[in-house]
Symmetry: C2
Subunit: 397 residues, 2 copies
């Protein structure tokens, strides 16, 4: 059989390639090297000495810089440290250990269930698993989570307190939620008064071409439908500037922001404001962000195109995959995904573990593989994706 002969030949090549994580390449990081000499000033517009303690909410100029991209008024944004994952983690912790606006009790004192659109982001699921939050998978459609399912579960069960969403260029399918899905998330009745949409807008400005997906404004819609406190918006510059040295954001209603800051006030005397100024000087404004992101697209888009080309040529009808307009991932749907990933591993191609796209690492249909094309160079990527197709054919011969 050709498929198994090809696989034997692949294993013989002794590759050592990694497609596991959504990391920017060195070339992308080079785009921000000028930041290493910034900031040139340490005084803010309001005359604050950015070197000292304080200013828990973050500098006004930093909040204004990202207000439009994150669709949150600057006054309702909080700037955090280098990791939006930490902001999400801590928000869960604060909900477990403190009483949120609209909540009767702390989440630690009751059963809590989160809805998890699948395929989804494994690090979201890991936070829930660590803290004993039950997860229920909800299928994704081309427009976002299946809202018939979401509405039913949220309306019926008061233990359902939240839903994880990566609404734009989603991790890992790459799709963007339709206006109708966003509107329904904002409007739907929920059995829990303290239900929250965890809106991880990680790829808000991460377009791959001039064709920009448009995302409806969840925060505004929640207010419009009388559910002002429903949205928790998260974002970061980890994949805008420097992956380890970016800044993060929390945005929500005034009541939620006050609640959030009442917790972070116990945690810290203030954020790294020099890094905030560094970002303001480097990116300047919304146009500066857009120009900078075009630099990323010029590096990343050819990688996405290459993956699509190889999959089309080698797999054809055997699999389906997404062709996103932005973000960091392509989702490959194939039969026997776990076997494909195991074969790839044996051939020296590291993929995110099969099932990682699902709560508890369990993909009941054994179909989903997340491809992260950004980190390798084009040559490595070509080898890895071609190798992956060999594994798909061998596993389904």
């Amino acid at each position: 059989m050709t498929a198994s002969r090809d696989y034997e030949a692949l294993v013989q090549r002794g590759l050592k390639l990694d497609l596991t994580r959504g990391k920017p390449s060195a070339q992308q990081l080079d785009l921000s090297d000028a930041m290493l000499k910034l900031p040139t000033t340490t005084k803010t517009g309001a005359g604050i000495d950015a070197r000292n303690y304080g200013d828990l909410q973050g500098l006004k100029e930093t909040r204004e810089l990202f207000s439009a991209a994150l669709q949150v008024p600057a006054g309702q944004l909080v700037v955090g440290g280098n990791s939006s994952l930490a902001v999400m983690h801590d928000t869960i912790v604060f909900a477990l250990l403190g009483t949120m606006p609209g909540a009767e009790r702390r989440w630690a004192e009751q059963e809590v269930t989160f809805l998890c659109p699948v395929p989804g982001y494994d690090r979201h699921f890991a936070i829930c698993e660590r803290y004993g939050i039950k997860m229920v998978a909800v299928p994704m459609t081309a427009e976002g989570p299946d809202m018939d399912v979401v509405e039913r579960l949220a309306a019926d069960d008061p233990a359902v307190k939240g839903i994880w969403c990566v609404p734009k260029y989603s991790n890992p399918s790459g799709i963007t939620y339709s206006d109708d899905v966003v509107r329904r998330l904002a409007a739907m009745p929920t059995a829990a008064a303290d239900f929250r949409v965890f809106w991880d807008n990680a790829y808000a400005v991460h377009h791959l071409s001039d064709q920009h997906d448009q995302l409806a404004d969840l925060l505004a819609l929640c207010e419009e439908y009388g559910n002002a406190d429903r949205a928790f918006v998260f974002g970061s510059t980890s994949k805008v500037t420097l992956a380890g040295s970016g800044i993060s954001f929390f945005g929500s209603s005034p009541a939620n922001v006050e609640w959030f800051l009442s917790h972070t006030a116990k945690q810290s005397i203030g954020p790294d404001k020099l890094n905030q100024l560094r970002h303001v000087e480097f990116l300047r404004d919304a146009d500066g962000i857009a120009a900078h992101m075009r630099g990323h697209a010029a590096i990343v888009a050819p990688k996405f195109e290459l993956v699509d080309q190889i999959l089309r040529k080698e797999l054809g009808e055997l699999a389906t995959w997404t062709a996103p307009h932005g973000g960091y991932f392509i989702t490959l749907e194939v039969p026997n995904a776990a076997d494909v990933v195991a074969r790839a591993k044996a051939a020296g191609i590291a993929l995110t573990p099969a099932g990682a796209t699902h709560p508890y690492g369990q993909d009941p249909d054994d179909r989903f593989i997340r491809i992260a094309p950004t980190f390798p160079d084009l040559e490595e990527l070509e080898q890895a994706i071609y190798g992956l197709t060999v594994c798909v054919r061998a596993a389904n011969a």
Copy 2:
């Protein structure tokens, strides 16, 4: 009466001075301005691209740089974000929501009591209060907490799970724990198997002169006495380099470090490693840290001397106060402290609220006032401290 006439005259002056927080002055922050052009390289000694994600424990070179100062082997140090308070807060959260080495249950499932040497640091107490951890005050002596009291409470009550310590140039008394106190903390039997010493070594290298207090090595002593997992060591560069843009440290036994990282792995994909390299390039080694800290001492020591002079001249026998060899604070003990602070406020001199040095903000003897002399310049400081003495005399006329 002279005292009340002097006070009236003080109020008439309409001062606006702030002695509340232990903030470095702008002049001190200037000492680190060269950091704004660093790092000059983004590759670590191990070839890691410091701009990207990863390396949860922190860079080896950064851990080695602070290992001696914090008395923790580099392999047992973790480098965190810009706030050691956040590391302490999060350690409490991880103990509440996860099971620590030696613990039978999560702290959230039981009554937890912390011992709080007084006077102590209000932000430690605020974390306990926020999360419902009961606090019991323990008197400080000139050698550290009264160990007879600490040993009795720790031995008798399994709810006693921890003690807050600022062991060197303590906040706010400025004293350093004696070798005997440190040894007893390491050796004492505790009713709780998961008892922890929260060792906030915030002022490890913050000497005011060439007379350096020496602190015994808690972590080594805990291991020697068979209580290897007892010590949680915290530190930061907030008052070494830039108050808002420093790096923080967690140090402990290998088992505790593994437990800590198992939690932070859910929280973050890695710390800001460029800021770590920035610190390594700027401070270089232990000698570099010492030289840099002499620069701080040259600015800060005259302020401590000025406070001592004025208090001696104006208060004499009416009060007692500390004359620390390092750190950021002087503790003034006077009768009717709350009245003194209220009078100072009315005269435009902001002091840390009376009682802030005690759990729940309650100083039963109404005696302790924390003086933070670093932030104002010498002229403002002279006015503020002279004004304070006027308030002391007026309140005790």
